[in-house]
Amino acid sequence: MTSMLGVERDLNLRETELCLGLPGGGTTTVAEPETAKTTGKRGFSETVDLKLNLQSKEDLNDNVKNIASKDKNNLLSCTKDPSKPPAKAQVVGWPPVRSYRKNIMSQKNTSEEKTEKASGGGGGSAAFVKVCMDGAPYLRKVDLKMYKSYQELSNALSKMFSSFTTGYYGTQGMIDFMNESKLMDLLNSSEYVPTYEDKDGDWMLVGDVPWGMFVDSCKRLRIMKGSEAIGLAPKAMEKCKGRS
């Protein structure tokens, strides 16, 4: 790979006032790997090494892509992150297919379509919903089909919104509504909890229904303080009790 010095020569940099003069030094590499690590962004050299360790904040899955197949491993260094399952990592906005198009495809009638290959993760359909968090200046959109459980969604949300720490889902993956005291503790705290608007327009606590049902009925997400969500708890518990 070309060193930065090599790049300078090739660029034939003019000695214009627009050369970057960093405080405390001359023209040095501007994306030091150390800096990258502090900020969590991948550094220049890491990219150059083709390690697809995409740590940008947008990445909803922190997976390292497994791009090597048995035929092509000479040019590419493949790093498998052992802690993650071998499911395909999805990068925001790639492939460049409009979310409008993806959402349309996900509603397709299954009667005539080809049987979908078991590709480990329901690939091909998408369920984009808007996510907002009280106090955060920006909205996000997430594709619910990229996750397989509340815990995964929760992890992704905590990466997107730094004040939101990950959730509280029990062994079955859902909120343990039967444990009322535990729930009440959470809702009385200043911790943030995720809530969602379902198909009926009701606002519910995330985690009250099995994951698959949630993906189908969730229209949008809102992360709010536990104390604000307390009004939702009775409704949620009622719906839950009614079902069991």
């Binding site: 962004k41 150059v48 906005g93 790639w94």
Partner: protein
């Protein structure tokens, strides 16, 4: 006798100018002399603004006092792929508010990637009595309530096109707000709406508008309603069906076929959600007349697609899913010799292994068999340099070549080499190439080729490519006609940008996300180039809270005479020495 700059009366010059329509020509004549500038600005009627932040409403109105048609674009193209955070900007309300008083005779509004609110639509409905054409392409922020206001008030509306907008669907009743006296509809595109429409309102509307030529329905309109609508509008030239599915019934099929064949002027078809293949033959009768076919939502397999396209010898434009496969593209190449534009979309974009048999071979076939093919968008999973070289040789007339090899950074599957020479062949052979999207494994060498040969290139999209700043430098220093450059996840940083800073003022815009441009470089660019808005978009908080040499998340640089904008959200900063003092 001294030569006079203006030897013709103004009226004559104005008459002459009325034959000059393109923006570039109009711009040229306005620079001839002061009097021509004055005459031209008073008689300019159509305005195109490619970046709504490049100029302000006040500046527009000051220069052009009597505009009848305006086209505005807002967000950068990568907003289509969720790379521009919500709330970034692109609000059209200030424009409409300013034009409401300045241009009461405004007839046409075309917006792309802008945020349009119900309030905006209500203002449009109230302010422009002569509104004839409203196109909202990939817009968002409004609901069917806003549409109701348009329907109720725009008595002269001819065209309402919601092309791929994100509309909050509150109810289907907005259609009923078109008064019974309203009969001027020529074109209606509501394909993007999610919820059920009021079918009776729709039928009554279609029945009373004799000039209706283009009707694009949404998915909720069932197949059995289609025949009725077509009987009411037999002069349609462009039809977007609703859901193309129903239980198989021969009588329903017969009625549908007859209704479709009654539309003898149909040239363009789209829609086809949820296709039941047995109903496809209902369109066969008008296939010979079709020039445009959009099957990109139709999940039908290759044999059915082959049968269909073989009956469309006059097809010029085809949008289709990769279910068409190589064999279908072979058939297309055989049958459709007039094909100009092809788009093949991925049916299953997130799966690594191919779910269909669509390879580079399909593209080779059409490039060979369709001599007029000039515009391609092609998603596939494997490609080779040989294929690209062959394609380039087969079809040197490409004006738009967008190839998306689905897996980032994969090489030529035959040689395991990067695609440098392949794309090099494309830019070298296709001398009229104006738009290019590259993909797959690419080194800086690819960009050397693009910079060397891509002299007519106006728009370039790059993702997961290149090795170093040299790549970006090749592009910025080589592509003389570059207007829009969008880059994501490439190791391009400060050096190339700073060395080519002046180039940025000759372009409409540059987008870079997940690259290696430092905050310090952004500040420098913003300070030194006052006619550029250098926007840093970073959701991690103010860039001052991180080291100067730390890379920014996203960067959007565009030239502007309006100075920095004031409608930025909390995660966008304009790099400017004196932004607080700047006057718009």
């Amino acid at each position: 006798m001294p030569k006079r700059a203006n030897s013709f009366p103004e009226e004559v010059l104005e008459y002459v100018f009325s034959f000059i329509q393109t923006d570039q020509d109009r711009s040229s004549i306005s620079t001839v002399c002061k009097s021509w500038y004055e005459i031209e600005r008073w008689c300019r009627r159509r305005i195109f603004i490619g970046n709504c932040y490049a100029v302000s409403p006040r500046m527009l109105i000051r220069r052009f006092p009597d505009v009848r048609s305006i086209e505005l674009k807002g967000k950068p193209h990568f907003a289509d792929f969720n790379l521009v955070p919500e709330g970034w900007g692109g609000y059209v309300y200030p424009w409409i508010a300013a034009m409401a008083s300045a241009y009461p005779w405004l007839e046409e509004i075309k917006l792309k990637r802008m945020v349009v609110t119900d309030e905006t639509l209500e203002l449009i409905a109230k302010s422009f009595k002569n509104m004839k054409l409203l196109v909202l392409s990939s817009c968002e922020g409004f609901s069917t309530d806003g549409l109701a206001a348009i329907a109720a008030n725009c008595r002269n509306l001819r065209e309402l096109d919601l092309h791929e907008s994100d509309v909050e669907d509150l109810s289907g009743h907005w259609l009923s707000h078109f008064p019974d006296t309203y009969t001027s509809l020529v074109s209606l595109n509501i394909a993007c709406l999610g919820s059920e429409l009021s079918f009776s309102a729709l039928e009554r509307l279609v029945a009373r508008c004799p000039n209706l030529r283009s009707l694009r329905l949404n998915r909720s309109v069932p197949l059995d309603r289609l025949a009725n609508l077509l009987r009411l509008a037999p002069r349609l030239t462009d039809l977007g069906t609703g859901a193309y599915s129903a239980e198989w019934r021969p009588d329903v099929f017969a009625i549908l076929s007859r209704a479709i064949s009654g539309c003898k002027e149909l040239k363009s078809l789209s829609g086809f959600w949820d296709v039941v293949p047995s109903y496809l033959p209902a369109i066969y009768s008008i296939c010979p007349g079709l020039t445009s076919l959009n099957l990109s939502y139709a999940t039908i397999q290759s044999p059915a697609l082959v049968k269909l396209v073989s009956q469309c010898p006059n097809l010029q434009r085809l949008w289709v899913l990769d279910y068409i496969e190589d064999v279908g593209l072979d058939a297309l190449a055989e049958s459709c010799k007039d094909l100009r534009e092809l788009r093949v979309f991925p049916s299953d974009p997130f799966v690594v292994e191919p779910n269909v048999s669509l390879t580079e071979q399909g593209l080779i076939s059409v490039s060979e068999g369709c001599p007029k093919l000039h515009s391609v968008l092609y998603f596939c999973r494997q490609m080779s340099n040989d294929a690209l070289i062959t394609i380039a040789r087969n079809q040197p007339n490409f004006t738009c070549f967008r190839l998306c090899i689905i897996e980032p950074k994969i090489p030529d599957y035959l040689t395991l080499q990067p695609f440098d020479v392949g794309f090099g062949a494309i830019v070298e052979n296709c001398k009229n190439l104006r738009r290019l999207s590259v993909s797959g494994l690419l080194t800086d060498q690819a960009f050397d080729y693009i910079g060397t040969y891509g002299k007519k290139l106006e728009m370039l999209s790059i993702a997961f490519a290149g090795d170093s700043d040299l790549g970006l430098h090749h592009i910025l220093s080589g592509c003389d006609n570059l207007r829009k450059l969008e880059i994501r996840d490439c190791p391009f940083g400060d050096k190339a940008l700073l060395a080519n800073a002046a180039k940025l003022e000759t372009m409409r815009s540059l987008w870079m996300s997940s690259c290696s441009v430092s905050y310090g470089a952004c500040k420098l660019l913003g300070q030194r180039l006052p006619r550029l808005n250098v926007e840093v978009i970073d959701e991690r908080g103010h860039p001052e809270s991180r080291p100067e040499n730390s890379p920014v998340e996203k960067l959007y640089i565009y030239r502007s005479v309006a100075g920095p904008r004031f409608d930025m959200p909390g995660f966008v900063w304009t790099m400017d020495e004196d932004s607080a003092l700047r006057v718009t």
